[in-house]
Point group: C4
Chain length 280, copies 4
């Protein structure tokens, strides 16, 4: 949706929009970089505040930092609302919601302690980093990844459903086999163990101790070994597709339509339309 | 095998079959969704019952839930038997056996305690979820995965045999090297460790403590690093196959030459020559 | 090297060779299957003997089993030597050496206790399993994997050298950073840790406890995440090669040569030689 | 930059350059191999020195070894400076800096204890190993890997940024969920845990103990399962690219038609038409 200010809007709005929302000017890029640094610093502050020893020493200072950043982000948010053509459209867009959510927790923490940690939602603002490289190669690359994942989403969903069913069955089996001992104290815990094992994470907080349990676990691990090939294969094949598909395209028909019958896709060296025989 | 009721069967059978076994009608889809929810809930009940604290508090209620679901599934199973053309064919099909096994454990638990956990076989009924998306894209995707795995099955079998042989040899070596200490108390245990390591799960319940043992483990890990590439490569190559095979077809120009100017390579649907404009 | 008995060898040699070394006859296949079962059982016996509780109870019986199998394998080994054309060529082939090594340990154990565990070398005899499927699809599949790995061997070697260098550098850094604490008691141990981490095995027997150490470990893990893509990519690309290469071949020239100028590779529909213009 | 000595330089410089910097002569290859062995031995010495028990016994001897190697490398470094055309250009090149850094720590350790471990920078000199195989297949293979990674670097950077953002968000969530217990004592520690989990390393030094925490961890693991497919897919697709690109060329028939029968698709080296036998 177009949120750029109308052409008859005052000049300051036009300029502010260019600086805040776009990054094809010097000032716009500077704004984006300053914003990114601010985001990183504010996230860092929240993270440091959670470390007890740092909190004990620098607690008050960090809280000041937090309020300063919250203030800055509030100003920025209001500016964005003022500048755009349709404030509501921006406020309800994904980026708008993230911008809003990165301000609220500080205020909410006055009422409800602990909600301050939601400030880490600010991390999501880091996604703006991709904006800066807009003119560069990054957007295309990100889109390439996202598009490959989107094209594979049904396959991955089917795959994950099968994996999830498998972990429930194996988890229950292990619960029965290990007899509720060695950490397998309930079926949900055993399923958790099965997921930890199948994904090859393997914490070791729960691990089988009976011979039968270890045999079953071995089978699960070797299956996981073969299974991990599936999502990789799906995404690899998907990503290789355009690469090996590209050469297929370049039959490279001419884009211009026939001026008589509007037939598309003529050979690049064609002199006559293939449908109506008219001189191109 | 065709289990659809004969055309001269009573109308209620025809309708019941459509609702229970197919999902191309409103009612059929509704039936499938209700069934799925029931399956999920019944599996959840079994899982929760295994958690001691929940069992202590809600045990009787959960047992009632279990009997209710078992009753429902029994009714459904009998209905399926009544409706189909050849009850035995259905009862001996994979889905039929799973349907049957998801009822039995509750009854068996009256005789043999502990067999109730086999109720989790019900999870396998979740595979029916794919039926609902029959009209959608899911069946094709699932078939794509299954077909790629089936085409790779000999390669994966050869690969797993080699891996298994490797783990037995390395496991025994480690047993000798670590001298029965540090958890390597027997060859089977050492083989179990080798599998845990080679698959990169790495629980850490058993890990080498001697210098020689750690060196050997390092070699195994780095080999595992290279080895994990094999199943992934197999499946990726298999999945990329149709993709890179498909584009091979589309050049697909018509082979016939223009009878006037002998120009080759006309579009298959071309009516006029692209070089001289003559009617083909 | 051809080890098949000469054509003028006595008939019993010819027959014995067919049974022992080949598997294209009934008897030959039966021999191979019996041999495989014997190998599996003898390996199992060695493994079980290492389990203390089983050894305490069935120790003598297992030792008898071991001697019986060793006797059988000895007879088999002698038979092989008698039957082949050049006994030395067989004895020095890879399979011959493995066959020999699977007999020796039992005898050696009389002198040197503990060497009996080398019996697990017998596992390598399991590789004979692939012989049985010789006529089937397995040999081709195994060759496909081996050939893909062989074609990638230089790439993988370069890759492993780089990985190994990286683990030494990171391991030493961690030794300095963690100050010899938390399990990082020496550089070799730290390198071992780096390998455990980079390969995503992650036992957890050694893990960083300082903030700087955990940061460095995080970087290593994320690098390992990207690095693991390399061997997979190498093997995948290699395996996809023949698949996407195959369609490239079928220009499918005719194999027959021109009867005048011996020019090869004519179009399948060619009527005249492309080099000398003679009627084909 | 060309650092080869001028053509009017004294003969000993020309020869020394050939031996030290190149490996296309007998002497040059010998020099490289001796150098490599020296590097490996000196790195080994540093590593062994860090093992307390070995240090206690062989400490003085190892220190002598270290000084000997440092002396040798110093001589080598000075020689390199003397021989090349522009000493500064070499000293500031990557290899020159590594060569320099592999000498300094021993001297620096006189002043600042502990800096001796930086000697492991010498490991980087192992990269010279690839020089020896210069004439062989290795350089091409290494370049293949490096080039595939370089071509994928933007995609991998975008991917890693997304992964890093994800770990911060999940880490904070876990900190809130586990309530600062079970090792999740601060947000940075929780982020560290998230990285350990998402990369499937899974030490188990920190692992969730609450039901909610284990559920969240399960989701993260299964996501990691799907996510690991991304870098692999990127690199695989990249590496498969030239392979599937190459076969695209070979159709390569000559486009010109026969001037008599207008037959298309002649071999590029054909002299006669394959259909009518006329001279092309």
């Amino acid at each position: 949706m177009n949120i750029r200010p109308r052409e008859n809007a005052p000049a300051w709005k036009q300029n502010a929009y260019r600086i805040i929302f776009e990054s094809d000017t010097r000032a716009g890029q500077l704004f984006d970089i300053v914003l990114l640094v601010a985001i990183v610093l504010s996230v860092l502050a929240v993270m440091l505040e959670s470390v007890r020893s740092i909190e004990a020493q620098y607690g008050p200072a960090l809280r000041v930092v937090e309020w300063v950043f919250t203030g800055l982000f509030l100003v920025e948010y209001v500016l964005r609302l003022l500048v755009v053509r349709r404030p509501l459209a921006y406020a309800l867009s994904l980026l708008g919601i993230i911008d809003f959510l990165s301000i609220v927790p500080t205020l909410a923490a006055l009422v409800l302690a602990g909600s301050r940690y939601l400030l880490v939602i600010r991390t999501l603002r880091l996604l703006r980093v991709f904006r800066i490289f807009k003119l560069g190669q990054f957007v295309g690359e990100g889109e390439f990844i996202v598009q490959a994942l989107r094209a594979s989403r049904f396959k991955i969903l089917v795959f994950l459903t099968a994996v999830f069913t498998l972990t429930i069955v194996v988890g229950t089996l292990m619960y029965v086999v290990e007899g509720g001992q060695n950490g397998f104290t309930s079926i949900p815990k055993s399923v958790y163990w099965a997921i930890v094992t199948l994904t090859t994470v393997g914490y070791g907080d729960i691990s089988p101790a009976t011979v039968l349990g270890q045999s079953l676990a071995s089978v699960l691990m070797i299956m996981g070994y073969a299974i991990i090939a599936v999502p990789t294969g799906i995404v690899s094949a998907q990503m290789a597709l355009p690469a090996s598909g590209r050469p297929a395209a370049p039959p490279a028909f001419r884009q211009a339509l026939c001026h008589v019958c509007q037939a598309p896709e003529h050979r690049p060296d064609a002199e006559y339309c293939w449908r109506c025989g008219e001189k191109l």
